[in-house]
């Protein structure tokens, strides 16, 4: 798989509507309300908020991703781009997920970088 296909894949994976679990027709206030709720749930470690669904599979949800998705949808220009990708039906050739996530360079890496809490 080429790097550029990975870019295409990430457009689905990091689509702001998918991250927030909203439809492209949602109002601006719904974006704020849903984002605020998800941030609160993530802060309390609730499993219900830990993942979101996309056409290329289930993805882990983080507070950074929620915040940047909210900012994306506040700006009409970036919202339009994300709406285009959110409306695309699942299963298009470009939307194939990579065979596997790349492994961490060494086991403790994600924890040291602050991405994941120690088990």
């Amino acid at each position: 798989m080429s790097l550029t296909d990975r870019d295409v894949f990430s457009r689905f994976r990091e689509n702001a509507f998918h991250v927030l679990g909203l439809r492209p027709s949602c109002t601006r206030m719904e974006v704020e309300r849903e984002g605020q709720k998800l941030l609160a749930m993530l802060e309390l470690g609730l499993s219900e908020a830990a993942h979101y669904d996309t056409p290329v599979g289930r993805m882990p949800r983080t507070a950074e991703l929620v915040r940047s998705s909210m900012a994306t949808l506040r700006d009409p220009a970036t919202r339009l781009q994300h709406a285009l990708w959110a409306q695309l039906p699942p299963g298009t050739p470009a939307a194939q997920a990579p065979a596997k996530e790349e492994p961490a360079p060494w086991p403790e890496a994600p924890v040291r970088l602050g991405w994941r809490r120690p088990e």
């Binding site: 295409v8 605020q36 609160a40 900012a71 695309l88």
Partner: protein, 821 residues
């Protein structure tokens, strides 16, 4: 429940102000003299006693060696300021800390509580080192937690809070003592969005005073033949005195038409003392300041144009800062922008009020923890998450029982608004002991809710906390980053980690690769990862704000060239930066960010920069004339003006004015960017040709191998290119061209022979590789992969070959000696 205390501080160049918000009303804090404004002036006497504010300001002329002002403009630099009598030198942040301490004490005297947390405003275009120095000043002043807010955002929050219903676009025109900020904002559905920022970090009321001083000095030369130069250290004190007199005259001239300015024996020269005796007229002062006002208007128009707006589309303009009281400034701004000014707002205290409101939306209660450490009501502990301030009338409240806490467990919970007007349905707890409830708020009020638990037997179960408060009002959820931040790469490009406007806090990780080896144990061997801030695509045109260095004596084993480095940059809500580099080959993490400081501006280095800029300007001008490009010739006239101003500042820096030195440094960087733009203007025909070619190539690839969505995005990018081309916006055009290129590349790599072509190209440069033996081995491997049609392996080979090809030494030097690609 005790009233919360949200403190906002406007730490200004000339004056500072504090405001408090209790969830319902805003209160301005008065100082010991009963004034809302405290001059940002610090005096330290021979005994080391510190005086802040008006009493210090009164001594600024008579005792300049022991009294310092305008240190905000030096924040983040290594420039120490001397106090002769006490034989002390203080860093700018230490002096700012004295002002903050004084304001903190004023809060304590007026409200009875010394706050431990506060929000402090900073100019929107403050660079990271300047913001870091502000946070440090707050820490030195005794604040245990502090958040920073950009001044225009604070003004807009305060203006929005006091307005009943203001929907649409606004401009906040904030001209302070030392900085100019303009922000384009949009309010919709009670939500405030910062659409964009612009500004000039070195344009303020002080420059207006300087322009009038220059006018007076020109008259002295004209009428008395006395040439007073700012470069002469003998005149430093006299010039300060003259500036003070001019500042007072400027204020008086907003009420009268002319005023005599008399300073007997103002300057000591070789021929004896020289008096200043001139008549200042309002017209003359206005004429001296008009180019500066126009400079600020140009920044406003540039901001509007970059968002495709006309001044006529603005709903209103909010004026902030002392210099905006000048009638001629108001008239000039009004004539250029057309939109009405927001009335009934105090331009001097608006920023502090907004900062206090922001403290509320960040839940930054300034009461010492001792207050809240009063005995907690007993009950089962619950973690609660709710917005301290919300524009939404129905926000969510999320709670979860604290694990391990003993006591009866509720089966149901409900929320009851304290005024009795609303209560939630009884909600069962999830398997994780959690609940999510939506609450209803009374507009523009603090809304207190009781949290009630009900046991399986229907009896009440006490919960802790038993109540909480949400204030309803205009909010700004996440502060946006004012300038993009990235890493300078060895080829002088910038890898952008955070785009301008990205919501804070933010964190991102990218993989970089080292361009050369670092030997274990060698102190001179350093891998340098420069962190830069700015919008231009070349690293040397961006500001270096920090560098992460990995030295040979820190590593467990030697690091080869082309080793992987996972770099994480993180920014907190106040824009403070931290960086971490993980080197998988060593299993080591490096975290120390060096040099978070504005670079020093020595007169010698400034002179060098000035000479280079002058030469570049002259070459550009002759080239523009030769090619007959009038637009570029016109743009160079502005560069001329900027160069003249920088020359004046370099001269003042030679006379010992450190602030002018910093202004010149920044001016040179801006001029460099301006000349770069002019050069791209000269290259416009070539750029247009490139755009035509690249659009054709991308269209062809996307038509053959792109998805429908990529096709749509390409159409959009092509339209954006066309708009930029029509408006002759070279930087914009290049930006959109990058999107086109990306889409074209995505499609190109789906061609079955794409990697074969790339392999041929990389293999032809094998002799230039940093490790020729390894490169030749890769070429052999690539040939085998090609013969056997193993495309994935061929791709890997090409990517490895690319990494062995060298970066240009000249580009690497320009890129702040970056060691990564």
């Amino acid at each position: 429940m005790a009233t919360p205390l949200y403190i906002g501080i406007d730490l200004g160049t000339t004056n500072s102000t504090a405001a408090a918000f209790d969830g319902e009303k805003l209160t301005l804090i008065r100082n010991a003299q009963g004034a809302n404004l405290t001059p940002s002036v610090v005096r330290i006497d021979a005994r080391g006693a510190v005086t802040v504010g008006d009493r210090a300001r009164r001594l600024i002329d008579s005792d300049p060696q022991n009294t310092r002002s305008e240190f905000k403009r030096l924040m983040g630099t290594s420039q120490a300021l001397e106090f002769a009598a006490a034989k002390l030198s203080k860093r700018p942040e230490e002096l700012a800390a004295e002002v903050l301490k004084s304001l903190r004490k004023d809060v304590e005297q007026q409200l009875g509580v010394a706050p431990t947390c506060a929000v402090i405003s900073v100019p929107a275009l403050f660079e990271l080192p300047q913001s870091a120095a502000t946070s440090e000043a707050a820490r030195l002043a005794g604040f245990s937690r502090v958040e920073l807010i950009q001044e225009p955002v604070a003004s807009a929050l305060a203006a929005g809070w006091s307005a009943d219903s203001d929907e649409g676009s606004w401009l906040v025109y904030d001209l302070g003592g030392g900085t100019f900020d303009v922000s384009l904002l949009e309010t919709r559905d009670g939500l405030l969005r910062v659409v964009g920022h612009d500004g000039d970090n070195f344009l303020g009321g002080r420059d207006f005073d300087q322009a009038i001083v220059d006018e007076v000095l020109a008259e002295l030369l004209r009428t008395q033949g006395v040439d007073i130069r700012r470069a002469d250290p003998r005149h430093a004190t006299s010039l300060r005195k003259l500036k003070r007199a001019v500042e007072e005259a400027k204020i008086e001239l907003s009420r009268t038409d002319e005023l005599p300015l008399l300073v007997p024996g103002a300057f000591e020269t070789d021929n004896g003392p020289v008096d200043v005796d001139v008549v200042l007229t309002r017209a003359r002062v206005e004429a001296a300041c008009a180019p500066l006002v126009q400079r600020s208007i140009n920044v406003c128009l540039r901001l509007l144009a970059s968002h495709g707006l006309e001044p006529s589309q603005l709903g209103k303009v909010v004026l902030v800062g002392g210099p905006t009281a000048m009638p001629s400034l108001r008239a000039q701004v009004q004539a250029a922008l057309g939109a009405p000014f927001a009335t009934d707002l105090d331009p001097m205290t608006l920023v502090a009020q907004g900062a206090a409101l922001y403290a509320a939306s960040s839940g930054l209660d300034g009461r010492p923890t001792a207050t809240s450490a009063t005995p907690q009501p007993s009950g089962r502990k619950v973690w609660l998450q709710y917005p301290a301030m919300s524009s939404d009338l129905s926000p969510h409240v999320v709670g979860r029982l604290v694990e391990g806490d003993s006591g009866p467990k509720p089966a149901l919970v409900r929320l009851v608004r304290a005024d009795g007007g609303w209560s939630s349905p009884d909600s069962p707890l999830s398997a994780e002991g959690a609940f999510v409830l939506s609450v209803e708020l009374v507009p523009r009020k603090p809304n207190t809710f009781r949290l009630e638990g009900i046991g399986a037997d229907g009896k009440p179960v006490p919960l802790s906390p038993a109540s909480f408060t949400i204030v309803q009002g205009l909010t700004l959820s996440d502060p946006p980053l004012s300038r993009s931040i990235g890493v300078a790469l060895a080829n002088n490009a910038v890898r952008v980690y955070f785009e301008r406007g990205a919501p804070l806090p933010a964190r991102r990780t990218f993989r970089q690769r080292t361009v050369e080896a670092v030997a274990k144990g060698s102190t001179g061997n350093v891998l340098r990862i420069p962190i830069v801030q700015g919008e231009l695509e070349w690293a040397h045109l961006c500001r270096l704000v920090g560098a992460l260095e990995i030295r040979g004596d820190q590593i467990k084993a030697s690091l080869p060239a082309d080793a992987e480095v996972e770099l994480t940059l993180e920014l907190d809500r106040g824009g403070r930066l931290s960086a971490r580099a993980l080197v998988p080959a060593l299993s080591q993490v490096f975290e120390q960010v060096a040099q978070l400081q504005v670079p020093d501006a020595t007169p010698e280095s400034l002179q060098e920069g000035l000479t280079a800029a002058r030469e570049r300007l002259s070459l550009l001008r002759s080239s523009a004339f030769r090619r007959g490009v009038p637009a570029v010739v016109a743009s160079l006239a502005q560069a001329d003006q900027a160069l003249a101003e920088i020359e004046r500042d370099v001269e003042a820096a030679r006379g010992g004015d450190a602030d002018a030195g910093q202004k010149a440094r920044r001016g040179l960087l801006d001029l460099d960017a301006q000349l770069e733009q002019a050069e791209s203007g000269l290259r416009w025909p070539e750029l247009e040709e490139t755009v035509r070619e690249e659009l054709a190539v991308a269209s062809s690839w996307v038509a053959q191998f792109g998805s429908p969505t990529e096709q749509k995005l390409l159409d959009e990018a092509m339209r954006a290119c066309e708009r930029a081309r029509a408006g002759r916006q070279a930087v914009e055009l290049q930006r959109h061209l990058r999107s086109v290129r990306k889409l074209g590349n995505a499609a190109f790599y789906r061609h079955p022979s794409a990697w074969e072509w790339q392999f041929d190209s990389a293999a032809s440069r094998v002799s230039e590789a940093s490790d020729v033996a390894k490169a030749e081995e890769l070429v052999q491997r690539g040939r085998r992969a090609l013969e056997q049609q193993r495309r994935e392996e061929l791709r890997q080979v090409v990517e490895q070959l690319w990494r062995l090809l060298p970066e240009d030494a000249q580009e690497r030097r320009l890129a702040h000696d970056s060691g990564v690609r």
